[in-house]
Structure formats: C-alpha cells, structure tokens
Symmetry: C2
Subunit: 196 residues, 2 copies
C-alpha cells in the first residue's frame, strides 16, 4: 500500500484485472467503483487517480478482457494436436464454469453489439480466433474455403459455450459441449486420410 510510482501501476493493474473479471461475470454494470477498489485493497476515493470515470474503467476492463489471450487460446497451442486441444479447452467444463476468466467473445457479445466503444476490440478478437483456427485447419485446401470453415468453427464454439451456460440442466449443458466437440472433431480428424 505504498505511494511509489511502481505501486500506482500495480494498483491500477489490480483494479483493471478485477473489473475485467467482473465485467465478464456480471456485464458492464457489474463493477461498482467502491466494490472494485475495496477488492483491490483500496478505498474508493483514490479511484480517480487511475480512471477518469466509472465508464472509463468499464470500457477499459472490457477491452482488456477482449485483448486477453486467455487460457483458451494459448494453452491449446501447446499440445501436439493443437486443434483437438482447442476444442477440449474451449468446450471444456472448466471454461464453461469460469466465465470471469473465459473467452470474452461469449460474455461480451451482446454488450459489443450495442456499444460502439467495444466493437473494435471485439472485432480484433474475432479476427484473432478466425486466424488461429484457419492456421489449425489449413490442409492445403482452398484458402477461401478454409476461412469459411474457420468462421463456422468459431461461431459454433462461441454459441456452444453461450448455450451451455444458459441452460439449467447440467446434462443438456454437457451434451451441447460434447455435441459441438464431436462435430468439429470429426470434420478435422488427423487419423483420417486428408486427400480430398
């Protein structure tokens, strides 16, 4: 709780992290100034040393959430079958059950649709995912077709997690995730011959 410049940067970072999680968990109205500061170990008065307004915080937090290379994307590329890894991670229950640290395309989709300030960050993330999947699918086929398939894949991934989070029945929720995983997995099976 010092007063050094490094401390300030650390404080700001902590506040943004908390708000970035809250915004995904509860939407843009989620992070309250006093609550967020308290969770960061500070009092509300100092808030305006870091942000010009609550809205400033919320937008920056949402943009940060969208810019974040979550576990979803990064970890998936570690395995030797990165496409299968992406499916497993993105469509896993761990991702579904932790929206606060999950892909912001799902949690902030509706908000981006109505808030111009988020659209650029949202679009960037969409393009990043399309490119990631394009790279994973690339099998020498027509680039336009691969791109179409990548868009299709990303849409299905995002939709599946959105739906899986919204339903009450855990069985149906799991079923949605595995259905999409099965379908996407079968359409790009490395054990199948790729001579099309």
């Amino acid at each position: 709780m010092g007063h050094s410049q490094a401390d300030k940067e650390a404080s700001r970072h902590r506040v943004l992290d908390i708000a970035s999680r809250r915004v995904r968990e509860e939407g843009l109205d989620g992070p309250k100034v006093a609550d967020t500061m308290r969770e960061a170990g500070l009092t509300h008065g100092g808030f305006y040393k870091h942000f010009t307004s609550r809205e400033d915080l919320v937008i920056q937090a949402a943009i940060a959430a969208l810019a974040e290379n979550g576990r979803t994307m990064s970890r998936a590329t570690d395995t030797d079958d990165p496409y299968a890894g992406l499916l497993a991670t993105y469509l896993g229950t761990g991702h579904r059950d932790d929206p606060g640290h999950g892909c912001a395309l799902v949690t902030l989709g509706a908000e981006a649709g109505r808030d111009e300030a988020l659209k650029d960050a949202y679009e960037k993330r969409v393009r990043a995912y399309i490119e990631l999947v394009t790279g994973l699918l690339a099998d020498g086929g027509d680039p336009a077709e691969v791109r179409t398939e990548a868009m299709f894949t990303v849409s299905a991934l995002v939709g599946a997690v959105l739906l899986a989070r919204g339903v009450r029945d855990p069985e149906l929720s799991n079923e949605l995730l595995t259905a999409v995983s099965t379908m996407l997995g079968s359409r790009h099976d490395p054990t199948a011959d790729r001579t099309e």
Copy 2:
C-alpha cells in the same frame, strides 16, 4: 386510456412488450420503470398496479422474450424448404440488425448464464430449437446423431449472430453470416444424394 379490465390487460401487455424488446436491446438493466411506462402511454405511478417491482417486470419481460416464437422460428417453417428458410431468416441481416425482436438465445445468453430466474425459460427455448432443427434434419439417420447435429447447428446459428453483431466491419459481419449459412446449407442439401 380507459379504466376497464380489458384496458388494464392491454396496458400490461403493452408494457411487457416494450420491456421485452428493451431487454433484448439493452440487457436486463435496459428497461427503466418511468421510461417504459411513458413509452406505453402511461405514468410511472400506475406501474405497481401491474408488477410488484422493477425486477418482476424485467424477469417477466426476459421470460416473454425467450418464450416468444419470433419470426425466426415461425416464418421459416412456411416455405417448402423450411431448413433453408430457417438459415436464411436466422442468419439474415434483418435478424442481425433487429435484436429487439430477434432470438433471445443470442441477446439473453450471458444474462441467463448468471441469473437463475432465466435458466428455465432459456433452456426451454434451447430445447425448442434443437427439436425444430432435429425435425428439419431428420433423414432416417441415427436419432442420436441427428440430435448431435441439431445441437451443433443451433450453436453455430446463435454464435454467428452474436459475432456478427459484435464486430464493427460490416463486411466481416456479413461474411460470418454467409459462412455459417454456406456450411450449414451444404451439410443438408436436398439436391444432393442422401446415401452416406
């Protein structure tokens, strides 16, 4: 603006309709008591003759939005190729550009994920869509496989509209819609032979 019982029912219906649109356009925080009443041609004081609280209105409006058989589902079944009709309507720019009257699976997905009061209505709509698509896909294949494919289809539809609304670039937005339309269309082409 009479005081009859029929008028009361009409008022309530008008208020709910407005809130049901607002909730899809702006989220659960969208409909304000005074605004909504004013738009319905009433003053805010009478609000509590219809609803016990603002939260009551919002939940009922969201449930109504989820229960609504929007153009998306109904119109699609009119044509002689209902599956193609569904794709065209759901993935059309008309649907994308009018979230207030569009499918609530897209607009209220995140909210349903965090609000227990919405989960049942959300789940019902998910099941309704799965069954609709199951019926349209049914070609004598393994029922479990058809169901899996239906879930996949619904996920892609919902995800595509969510993404298409969130990006700034209209080209990318259109591309997402047509990509998913193409992919879903080709996997169930009535002109192709179904002997797989």
